[in-house]
């Protein structure tokens, strides 16, 4: 067995038994990154030297009997998390030289627990996208290939495309991501791995480059449900530096993976059965529900009547918040500055922002600025906030009848570069099944349960009550056990 084939839980056991050292494990992953990243472009910045140094320090801690819960585990960190002393770009030219003088709370907690960072993973610029193609540092290659067309360059999804591709290709044991409308769950589904967006407030947003503050949430990627649970326990927890961070105890999520789903009521929302949805997705969904019934759960048809308004609502709320958050990039305090010799301050702002931001980011800033501008606020932003309340209310009503909801994760398998790019709205539809959980603040987990006719992974999503990730993990683990998903991508370490 190759050292890059471990699950995260398996690697922790091997490290505990002394079957492998953290340095050996990290060295295997560093070599895999060096071999595959030139093709995948999953990392914007690699930190191999620091990783090996951290691994040696980890081995020393273990020897002293001070091993943390993630001691010696090599991870990829989405390049949206500020890492002290290591360049953090957010996938944007405007932060191309930004070296944070502080560490995000989530990455600080991962380090506290012994994790080793391999580098900063590629992403859509400022996490705005569903393909990773808006990154100023180039697209990321999905390590999976179409059976009939192996040369097609498939996207890994987005925005956390580099994180998902790195974990799928086995060049990282796990990764961090962020999810504002589906940016963990859609790339997890496209890359055949598992990812969870926890409840809003579960993880601190301190030190994560902000996109849409009322929707952004950090979460983990890994190759099993339990591995995600292990990572989330380290990432989660109350942080006084983020006023929206929830003061709630962090449960042992991994223990919840072993819970039975017997007697659980699983909601099946009829509005998620879309016109023109591929038969393969419909079949995958039905199969997952059959498996849960076989495991003793009960499936219940439910209605989430405002579902069809979720995406347009999101495309008011998210750009509005983004236009405010991204106002800080002014060419003065940090990041890129573009000015002519005779530029005044206004011209400096305008040139810096026009050159520093890519087309999709500029588009969303414009939409956000417009919907917040005088005279339009009530018609757009306030209206969207009211519909958001209705969408959250749909879920509240559902929780009276069910304990979790199971849906497809995405409306299709991974698409190729160049597909879905003519019309921004077409690209936005990728998040049709995921965006509701962000609007309602609920936890959502995506996991692979099958392959399409091209041999590409397809995923299901489990949505739970606020702060009930444990039930989400239990249902996800039950699906995982029956799905027994063993397919691997063509491009991977050790292949």
């Amino acid at each position: 067995m190759h050292a890059t084939d471990f699950t995260l839980g398996g690697a922790l056991a091997a490290l505990n038994e002394g079957a492998i050292s953290a340095e050996e494990l990290t060295r295997a992953h560093v070599a895999a990154v060096e071999a595959l990243n030139p093709k995948l472009n999953a990392f914007i910045t690699t930190t191999s030297e620091q990783a090996l140094e951290a691994a040696r320090a980890s081995d020393a801690r273990r020897k002293r009997g001070e091993a943390g819960p993630l001691e010696g585990i090599p991870l990829a960190i989405k390049d949206l998390f500020c890492t002290e002393g290591v360049r953090t770009t957010a996938g944007s030219t405007i932060l191309g030289n930004f070296i944070p003088p502080y560490e995000s709370t989530v990455t600080a907690q991962l380090k506290r627990d012994g994790a080793v960072f391999l580098g900063k993973a590629n992403l859509d610029e400022f996490a705005m996208g569903s393909s990773n193609l808006t990154s100023a540092y180039g697209g990321v290659l999905n390590p999976w290939q179409r059976k009939d067309d192996p040369d097609a360059r498939l996207v890994p999804g987005g925005s956390s495309g580099g994180s998902a591709a790195a974990v799928a290709a086995r060049i990282a044991l796990g990764a961090t991501g962020t999810d504002t409308g589906g940016s963990i769950r859609q790339p997890a589904a496209f890359c055949g791995i598992t990812g969870i967006k926890p409840t809003y407030g579960r993880c601190s947003r301190f030190g994560i480059v902000a996109f849409a503050s009322s929707l952004d949430q950090a979460g983990p990627f890994a190759r099993t449900v339990e591995d995600c649970a292990i990572l989330l326990r380290s990432m989660a927890g109350h942080d006084p530096k983020d006023s929206t961070s929830a003061n709630q105890p962090v449960p042992n999520f991994a223990a919840a993976c072993a819970r039975s789903v017997k007697g659980l009521r699983i909601g099946v929302p009829r509005e998620y059965r879309l016109d023109g949805m591929p038969a393969e997705i419909e079949k995958l969904w039905r199969q997952g529900l059959d498996w849960l019934r076989d495991a003793g759960a009960e499936t219940v048809d439910i209605s989430l009547p405002h579902t069809k308004y979720a995406l347009p609502t999101y495309y008011i709320v998210a750009p509005a918040e983004a236009s405010s958050n991204l106002a800080r990039y002014d060419g003065v305090r940090f990041g890129l500055r573009v000015a002519e010799k005779d530029s005044d301050l206004g011209d400096l702002y305008e040139r810096t922002r026009a050159e520093g931001f890519g087309a999709e980011v500029r588009r969303r800033i414009m939409i956000g600025t417009y919907v917040l501008s005088a005279g339009y606020y009530d018609a757009y932003y306030l209206k969207a906030q009211k519909i958001r309340a209705l969408i959250a209310g749909d879920f509240d009503a559902a929780w009276a009848k069910v304990d979790a909801i199971v849906t497809p994760a995405t409306p299709s398998a991974a698409f190729a570069e160049g597909e879905n790019t003519d019309d921004p709205v077409q690209m936005y539809l990728n998040d049709v099944f995921t965006v509701t959980a962000n609007l309602a603040g609920l936890p959502g987990l995506a996991l692979p349960t099958g392959l399409d006719h091209q041999g590409l992974p397809l995923g299901l999503q489990v949505i739970g009550r606020a702060f009930d990730e444990e039930t989400v993990f239990a249902v996800g683990a039950a699906l995982e056990r029956t799905a027994d998903f063993k397919a691997v991508p063509a491009m991977r370490a050790g292949a």
């Binding site: 405002h306 308004y309 305090r333 309340a389 606020a466």
Partner: protein
């Protein structure tokens, strides 16, 4: 509601984004495509619905207060470390007062 070119220019100015003359028609088309799609929300009856501000389940009421005290500071070098231009302990900008 569809944006005319004057509105596109005004929004770009509000957003502090330089917009070249030759790009205005394209940007206008893209924005109108998105706004046209968003327009469907006007059909939803939201009478008497309280807006959901923020993402916290249970609403903003769950947000904590803290003491109004200084907890951090005195880090001028760290704050200025990424500045594109500085003068001593200040950010440097083009002259704004004649």
């Amino acid at each position: 509601m569809s944006l005319d070119t004057a509105t596109v220019r005004r929004v770009a100015a509000l957003a502090r984004l330089r917009l070249e003359e030759q790009d205005i028609a394209r940007v206008q088309g893209e924005l109108n495509g998105i706004l046209g799609w968003i327009e469907q929300l006007q059909a939803v009856n939201t009478d008497g619905v309280a807006p959901m501000a923020g993402g916290t389940p249970g609403g903003a009421a769950a947000m904590p207060m803290r003491g109004d005290v200084v907890t951090d500071g005195g880090k001028a070098e760290a704050v200025l470390a990424n500045a594109p231009d500085r003068e001593g302990e200040y950010f440097g900008v083009p002259k704004v007062v004649e």
